[in-house]
Amino acid sequence: MNNIILRAEKINKHFMAEGIFGAARYKVNALVDASVEVKKGEILALVGESGSGKTTLARIISGLEKQDSGAVLLDRKIPDYKNPDERRKVQYVFQDTYYSLNPRMKIKAVLAEPLKVHFGLKKEKLNEKINKMLQSVGLGADAMEKYPHELSGGQRQRVGIARALSVNPELLIADEPVSSLDVSVQAQILKLLSDLNETTKISIIFITHDLRVVKSLADTVAVMNRGEIVEYGVVEEVYANPRSEYTKTLLGAVKG
């Protein structure tokens, strides 16, 4: 029963916005008492418009940013992200496919690095594993010798996903992973994430502004607006019976 992998409890975060010439500094609440949890094998969608705080929450969960208050619990304890073995448990897939891969590294090197650092893999074993990883995200072995700019956006995103999965994470955070891709490629990547979730039971936090995608992909959804979670629950229930006005507006905008 207690198969909760991640719990974020009452996370608060503010930024200082600066007026022109540093004048009129004012506080912007990026997150107000945001709490979510993710069970093993579950896909949680964080939905909201720009400035809703969805990315900030994900970045805090992944350790890329620090919260002002509140706690992130991984496997029921506060993770020590300086410890490589705990660090690898939460991985991140980025929206910008061009800059998500080091432009000066071949794909082979991109995928080899985490395997060397975490598992000390070498030579044949390393190559074998890289091949397997490429296969699991639907890429051929010919991608190995290419540089990121020689791949399409969709292919780069597949590499980004493979890299994140290479260290056997328990939670994958996908931050608008398809927003910068062509529509026909978006569907491919969504299917890939859905398939990976089904076969490996990896938990996913999926960030998006598209309620249609949420409906077909996610199990639970947290609707965010101005740093607050205004609605949170099982996708089907929220869609059938939205309680907050904001959710209703969002759903209204994509109906038809």
């Binding site: 992200y81 910008d96 061009y98 080091n102 432009p103 690095e113 985490p114 650092v117 975490h118 980004g160």
Partner: protein, 269 residues
């Protein structure tokens, strides 16, 4: 590569060849005096004429290339190492460390560099070694600022953040992921820096604070020539042209590199 850059590169290569193979290229010993043939205009025997002691000007210029290039390259390398290290540390760690380093840079920038160099030379004594060290130690601030700005930008890019999330060590992220991508502007600056250092060395030697005679440098040949400017134009023209050509071609190369390495152009191309 554009045409200007190719031209610049060609001249730079010529200059480097001249510097490396100076003894082979120079037709005569640059030290050999021949007082009976002093201040001879260019002729077949002396293509660039002779100086006030009857030494072959062409041979002395070729020898001087060595000094100029050595000083230019070594001084810039020193400043690049210091600048890159301080820049990446300031940019990556930020906060107090950044503040200390960058305020150091600010203080450095309030001191007129030429004045500082002159003072140090007077204090330490003029020699090629001292010039290299002094120019190197006084010209790293720009590189540090360039690198810091690049690092501030790159460390926020997804691939640098991905490296952090993957649990890579700070050193690996800084030198394996950030630095290689911050290097293009450094390379451009290094190229400009070489021409700046060559100019600085020539200026110092011209003032008598650089390379000391009888060892020739473009600057000090110019100094001795200035006394004969109305009778022996070749003593001033050729070293002047050499300095001009070297500085100009390094600048062309730098300009070209800036376009060539521009990732934006690359992305669209």
């Amino acid at each position: 590569m554009n045409k200007m850059m190719k031209a610049g590169l060609a001249v730079v290569i010529l200059i480097v060849i001249a510097a490396v193979f100076a003894p082979v290229i120079a037709p005569q010993d640059y030290r050999k005096q021949d007082v009976s043939n002093r201040l001879m205009p260019p002729s077949k025997a002396h293509v660039m004429g002779t100086d006030e002691l009857g030494r072959d000007v062409f041979s002395r210029l070729v020898r001087g290339t060595r000094v100029s290039i050595t000083v230019g390259v070594l001084a810039v390398l020193i400043s690049a190492v210091i600048g890159v290290l301080l820049g990446i540390i300031a940019g990556y760690f930020g906060g107090v460390i950044d503040n200390i380093i960058m305020r150091g840079v600010d203080i450095f920038l309030t001191v007129p560099t030429l004045f500082l160099i002159l003072m140090l030379i007077v204090f330490l004594g003029p020699s090629v070694f001292n010039i290299v060290i002094i120019i190197g130690l006084t010209s790293w601030t720009d590189i540090a600022r360039i690198v810091r700005a690049e690092v501030l930008y790159i460390k926020k890019l997804p691939y640098a953040e991905a490296a952090a999330v993957l649990g890579f060590k700070k050193r690996r992220i800084m030198f394996g992921h950030i630095l290689p991508n911050a290097f293009a502007p450094v390379l451009v600056y290094i190229t400009f820096g070489v021409s700046g250092a060559i100019l600085a060395e020539s200026g110092l030697s011209f003032l008598g604070l650089g390379v000391q005679p009888p060892e020739p440098s473009w600057g000090n040949i110019l100094t001795s020539g200035k006394d004969y400017i109305d009778t022996a134009w070749w003593l001033v023209l050729y070293p002047g042209l050499s300095i001009f050509a070297a500085v100009f071609s390094f600048n062309l190369l730098g300009e070209g590199l800036r376009d060539y390495l521009n990732p934006k152009l690359d992305r669209e191309g």
